[in-house]
């Protein structure tokens, strides 16, 4: 593994607090995931790809923004791997890069209606911007 890959991997493991080596590849996270069908890479792949250092494809993938952070995988994982936290760390690694904000304030008016709760807007900002 190249140094930059290794650094990225360490960074993600550190910020997520997840040890992907604990995974026994049962796939229960992906079995449980409500956003599975919309994802290019599924929760168990996140774990496996972070473990093997193959993180670039994840950084580029929309899958990062499909995770609903519903914590179902965290609760059901028999190995306490907590895949959602890993997805979150990879997402942060992506949007923390300069110019990688996925949404700007200008986009908002178009996306909302009269009933949109504030909660949705702030949540989306937390998720899509740094």
């Amino acid at each position: 593994m190249s140094n930059s890959k290794k650094y990225l991997q360490e960074e993600i493991i550190r910020t997520s607090g997840v040890n992907p080596k604990k995974c026994m590849r049962c796939g229960k996270c992906s079995a449980t995931c409500p956003a599975y069908d919309e994802m290019e890479y599924h929760p168990h792949q996140f774990v496996y790809m972070v473990e093997s250092g193959n993180i670039e494809p994840l950084l580029e993938s929309d899958s990062l923004y499909r995770c609903l952070t519903c914590f179902a995988c965290v609760d059901r994982c028999p190995r306490s791997v907590e895949p959602a936290k890993l997805v979150e760390a990879v997402r942060l690694a992506a949007i923390r890069k300069q110019g990688n904000n996925r949404m700007t304030a200008n986009d908002v008016p178009e996306l909302i209606d009269d009933e949109t709760p504030q909660q949705l807007i702030v949540s989306a900002f937390r998720k899509y911007t740094k």
Partner: protein, 261 residues
């Protein structure tokens, strides 16, 4: 009984009824909710990354304010509750994180001492469903589907509210209010949450699954504690009413129409 109370931004705006009925019902049940002064938005979602500090400070401030008043903190909105509770858990268990936060904060150290109740826990554990049952004046008399979503119950290691896979806390409340609780499979499945912003289709699909499941089980009304859940369900073509559980409660307790106003 007095508690510190954090309504959160949506409850001051689009979800006013969630807030107002919570307070009225609490008063009726002998509990005063004292709103924290000068609170800020919790941020809507909890960022699990250990190095995210600034985004969690507003939650810590809320918790510290409650601590200063020596009160337990009550929240109603599922999202606020989740964020504040997860932040508090991190303050208790992640020394490094707590250290960083405390360096930001000017005053005394905070290490997660504040006790947090979701409004439902306040009803179940502090007031008691028996007492609520006695106070009911308008029994609901409907088939009500409790919609938990994800934020109330998970992650269970932090939330510790109920069995995350087979919860009863809302169903028991519905029964106490004279309604019939409808059990259905997707009551703890995510509505699609914030993804509504970017992918209404995904959010729509998730919400429809929930709606269909509830309807199949015979629900006449769905209750939730989360403004975003309500919004998502309603935007996804839900043809049965989605109401806040505080509204249901206020109605049953006969305080929905405030005679003082």
């Amino acid at each position: 009984m007095k508690f510190s109370y954090f309504p959160g931004c949506t409850l001051k705006n689009k979800a006013k009824s969630l807030d107002i009925y919570a307070r009225r019902s609490a008063e009726k049940l002998g509990v005063t909710l004292e709103e924290i002064e000068n609170w800020q938005c919790c941020g809507g979602v909890f960022t699990t990354a250990k190095d995210e500090v600034a985004t969690k400070l507003s939650s810590v401030r809320i918790l510290k304010d409650a601590q200063k008043k020596q009160q337990a903190l009550v929240t109603v909105c599922s999202a606020c509750h989740n964020v504040v509770k997860q932040t508090n858990y991190a303050m208790q268990n992640d020394k490094e994180f707590a250290g960083k936060v405390n360096r930001y904060m000017s005053e005394d150290e905070y290490n997660g001492e504040t006790q947090i109740y979701h409004y439902l826990e306040l009803l179940r554990d502090v007031i008691g469903y028996d007492k609520i049952k006695e106070s009911v004046v308008n029994p609901i008399g409907k088939k009500v589907a409790a919609y938990y979503g994800c934020l109330l119950l998970r992650p269970n290691a932090v939330m510790r509210m109920d069995d995350p896979e087979n919860p009863t806390i809302i169903e028991d409340l519905i029964k106490a209010l004279g309604g019939e609780a409808v059990i259905y499979g997707y009551r703890n499945e995510c509505c699609g949450g914030y993804v509504r912003m970017e992918s209404p289709e995904l959010a729509g699909k998730k919400s429809q699954t929930v709606i269909e499941s509830a309807k199949k089980a015979g629900a006449e009304v769905i209750v939730t504690a989360c403004p975003l859940c309500k919004y998502n369900l309603e935007k996804s073509g839900c043809d049965i009413p989605v109401v806040y559980l505080t509204e249901l409660l206020a109605e049953a307790l006969g305080v929905k129409e405030d005679t003082n106003e």
